[in-house]
């Protein structure tokens, strides 16, 4: 497959996954803000969920906080529709769609059409009205459209290189996002641990799980026990949950092997080696160990690995 096309595919699904995560995070910010304001009595010096969102996003690329953080609505609108910001939902979908337009012949017609429709829907003038009427429903629609794109890829594309490059992009982005979200929420919860009361902590934990679509799945596994170790255990080390880090690393590794064509006998590329190491680390990790080493250390290690993998892929496949 053409190197340019491979790179395009990798970024298409990465942007779509990122847009989906952004829609989740913004939606949660919108909702949690309402809860949290109630709990800390509208005291604007206390960091609210809104700031968490900004922190999560701040890690990505060069994010500039150029608006008044107190204007929640303006912030949401900007992060959604401002096409001059590379982080806005609209920018991400536009880039994914532009890449897809240049790669139409490789995507299945169904998946291309889905992404094109999402783009057309967002750029229509009606979409702002829909957003203003109900941000919640708006973000939910975007989230579903993004998921539908991946689902159409999954059910209409043959398992060839094109498919695997899409998969790698999608799961690398998800791993990256999980580590950012955990990092931000745990550092905030750490502060909260000392001062805030139980109910506020509960709001945070619930919010974290919700933003990973993990709330109900988590409760089924751990019932009402909402504590840091169990949550990290679930979002990092669980084998079955599709938004746990270990699950994503596994899928990513499978796809990398799909690209190289090796079934694990050969070491394959450097990217495969690094990811393989992360996979076995997660497989044999003990949650107490992770906390003993310090969660932030662990998470930044994961982010480094992700960045290295992308570099290696550039070298091996995109810049031939």
């Amino acid at each position: 497959m053409l190197s340019r096309v491979a790179e395009n595919l990798f970024w298409i699904s990465r942007y779509v996954e990122r847009a989906e995560n952004l829609a989740r995070v913004l939606n949660d910010a919108f909702h949690l803000e309402l809860d949290a304001v109630g709990l800390h009595g509208g005291d604007s010096d206390v960091k609210g969920p809104r700031d968490q969102v900004l922190n999560v996003l701040a890690g990505q690329d060069r994010f500039e906080l150029t608006w008044d953080p107190r204007e929640s609505e303006g912030m949401l609108t900007n992060l959604t529709f401002d096409s001059t910001r590379s982080h806005s939902l609209l920018s991400m979908i536009s880039r994914a769609r532009e890449n897809a337009r240049a790669t139409q012949d490789t995507l299945s017609p169904e998946s291309w059409s889905q992404l094109n429709q999402l783009y057309l829907a967002l750029t229509r003038s009606k979409s702002r009205k829909q957003f203003e009427a109900s941000p919640y429903r708006f973000y939910d629609r975007v989230k579903r459209s993004c998921i539908l794109f991946h689902a159409l890829v999954d059910s209409t594309m043959p398992r060839n290189e094109a498919f695997y490059f899409l998969e790698v992009g999608r799961f690398i982005e998800r791993i990256d996002m999980i580590s950012r979200v955990l990092n931000v929420w745990f550092s905030a919860a750490g502060e909260g641990e000392k001062t805030a009361e139980h109910s506020l902590r509960l709001v945070y934990w619930t919010g974290l799980l919700r933003s990973c679509s993990a709330y109900e799945a988590y409760l089924k596994r751990y019932h009402e026990r909402l504590d840091a170790e169990s949550i990290v255990q679930y979002l990092v080390l669980d084998l079955d949950f599709p938004r746990s880090m270990r699950f994503c690393v596994g899928r990513c590794l499978e796809s990398l092997r799909g690209i190289t064509g090796g079934a694990g006998q050969r070491t394959g590329t450097e990217a495969e080696r690094r990811l393989g190491r992360l996979e076995s680390e997660l497989r044999y990790a003990d949650i107490h160990e992770v906390f003993a080493r310090g969660l932030p250390n662990f998470l930044s290690g994961v982010q480094d690995t992700c960045a290295k993998i992308v570099e290696e892929m550039q070298r091996a496949y995109f810049l031939t």
Binding site: M1, R4, N116
Partner: protein, 489 residues
């Protein structure tokens, strides 16, 4: 609320044919090939037609079947307006077109070969040498070079119109990189999805084998000795107006769609950069103009081509489709000589005649042109897409003065033709059907044999009375049905 009797047939109730109408004869009776369609239309309300029309537009938009219009800041993506009333060509008319096009393309191909080899036709004085060697499409770099199977014009689109008597005339040859075939295929697909009823009672020749014919042709013209050639489509990229078509054709043929930056000249051959290293390419269906193919040979500022491509082509390592230098035969300055070219090489009279054409280089013609600018259509010989034209009857005095000056300064650069009132066809406008002018661009593939896609792109000028059908100038398109021998059933 309309009563049933009022709404029945309201689509055609106000229809008044003018010029040569494809559906109705001069006396107002429906032509036999259109009779079943008329019956269908009688039972279709304008609201229903409008609803389905909108679905068709939406389908195209969602699939991204768009072209880019230049001129504004960055280029705007648009769908080509699609008219739901099909154009129908009876079997006997198509037979004439089919034979005429085969004859024409065969002769033009012989002409290109001759020009780049012996130049016998110039020595025999049939076509003026200075017109050929001075044509902007002539490429002296190709002189003496043999190409695979001696085929240059693998893919052509010959524009046909009908005059006021319904006679088919060739308006223009497009022998470089004609576009539009993807709309032909998509129009049919959308038509079948949205208006399945209209197909009943008709035996419409299928067109879905175009991509496989195209692929067989590309395989046939691979460099000698290559058994299983690697074929690619070369596009200028996503900002090109016909990008959709490039990607569509690559997809339909199951070959890679590449851009210049994906290709590299490697040890005398052309290869593409893949995730597994360089892979050799044998046949390039290029949708990049000659000028931009190779910065070493042609335009140095071109980012769209590959340095070394022309060298690989000249040495027979790679086949380019269409061949380089075919612009010499579809030049508007050469156009008036095509009937002579056909006679010269094939010893036959042209089956499809040209439109009468005046050349400013001939003093008597120039006199005629300058004193009849308000009645003629003047075209720049190297213009295309409806740019650089003067349509006399629709022109203003300053425009005519401008063209008169241009013609005097550069008589080689222009031709003039009488304004032909193109045939008109019922077209869905607002709530009714009204007559609008149309032309036809059939697509010709020249491989092991010459194959013509039954039908082609019918373009329709949407503003009332307009004769400009180009999509870049607001033209739309129609599905075009060629009837089998059974006709309508």
């Amino acid at each position: 609320m309309r009563s049933a009797s009022e709404s029945t047939g309201s689509l055609l109730s106000r229809y008044s044919p003018y010029g040569f109408d494809e559906m109705f004869s001069a006396t107002g009776t429906v032509r036999p090939s259109y009779a079943p369609l008329q019956q269908r239309l009688l039972h279709l309300t304008s609201a229903e037609l409008e609803r389905r029309h909108r679905i068709a537009d939406l389908t195209m938009q969602r699939q991204g079947i768009t072209f880019t219009v230049y001129g504004r800041n960055k280029g705007v993506e648009r769908i080509m307006p699609f008219d739901p009333i099909p154009r129908i060509i009876p079997a006997d008319e198509w037979d004439l077109i089919d034979r005429g096009l085969k004859q024409r393309v065969r002769a033009l191909n012989l002409f290109v070969h001759d020009i780049y080899h012996q130049r016998q036709i110039l020595k025999d004085g049939v076509v003026p040498t200075e017109l050929v060697l001075g044509a902007s499409g002539y490429r002296r770099e190709l002189h003496g070079i043999d190409v695979a199977r001696d085929i240059y014009i693998h893919i052509s689109g010959i524009d046909l119109i009908r005059d006021e008597h319904g006679k088919y005339l060739v308006l223009e040859d497009n022998c470089r990189t004609p576009s539009g075939v993807s709309y032909v295929l998509k129009n049919r697909q959308v038509m079948k999805e949205v208006f399945p009823l209209l197909f009943q009672q008709y035996d419409v020749l299928p067109i879905d084998d175009y991509a496989s014919n195209l692929r067989s042709m590309l395989r046939y013209v691979a460099p000698g000795g290559v058994q299983d050639p690697t074929i690619v489509v070369l596009s200028p990229g996503v900002y090109n107006s016909a990008y959709y078509e490039h990607s569509f054709l690559a997809r339909q043929m199951g070959v890679e769609l590449v851009e210049g930056r994906d290709l590299v000249f490697d040890g005398g051959q052309i290869a593409m950069r893949t995730t597994r290293g360089l892979q050799r390419i044998d046949v390039i269906y290029r949708r990049v103009d000659d000028d931009f193919l190779d910065p070493l040979a042609f335009r140095r500022d071109s980012q769209l081509g590959v340095a070394g491509l022309l060298g690989a082509y000249r040495s027979g390592q790679v086949t380019l489709v269409n061949g380089v230098g075919t612009g010499v035969c579809d030049d508007k300055g050469i156009y008036p000589f095509v009937p002579d070219i056909i006679r010269y090489y094939l010893g036959e009279d042209a089956i499809l005649p040209n439109v009468e054409t005046f050349r400013p280089l001939i003093p008597a013609h120039r006199q005629h042109i300058l004193s009849n600018l308000d009645k003629l259509v003047v075209k720049a010989v190297d213009g295309s897409g409806g740019y650089g034209m003067l349509i006399g009857p629709a022109s203003t005095a300053p425009q005519r003065e401008e063209f008169a000056a241009k013609i005097k300064a550069n008589p080689r650069g222009y031709i003039a033709q009488p304004t032909i009132t193109l045939s008109s066809h019922p077209t869905f406008i607002g709530e009714h059907l009204e007559g609008r002018h149309i032309d036809l661009r059939p697509f010709v593939l020249y491989g092991e044999e010459i194959k013509i896609l039954p039908g082609g792109l019918t373009r329709v000028a949407l503003p009332r009375g307009s004769l400009v059908v180009n999509s870049s100038q607001g033209g739309g398109s129609k599905d075009t049905w060629v009837l089998g021998r059974g006709g309508s059933t």
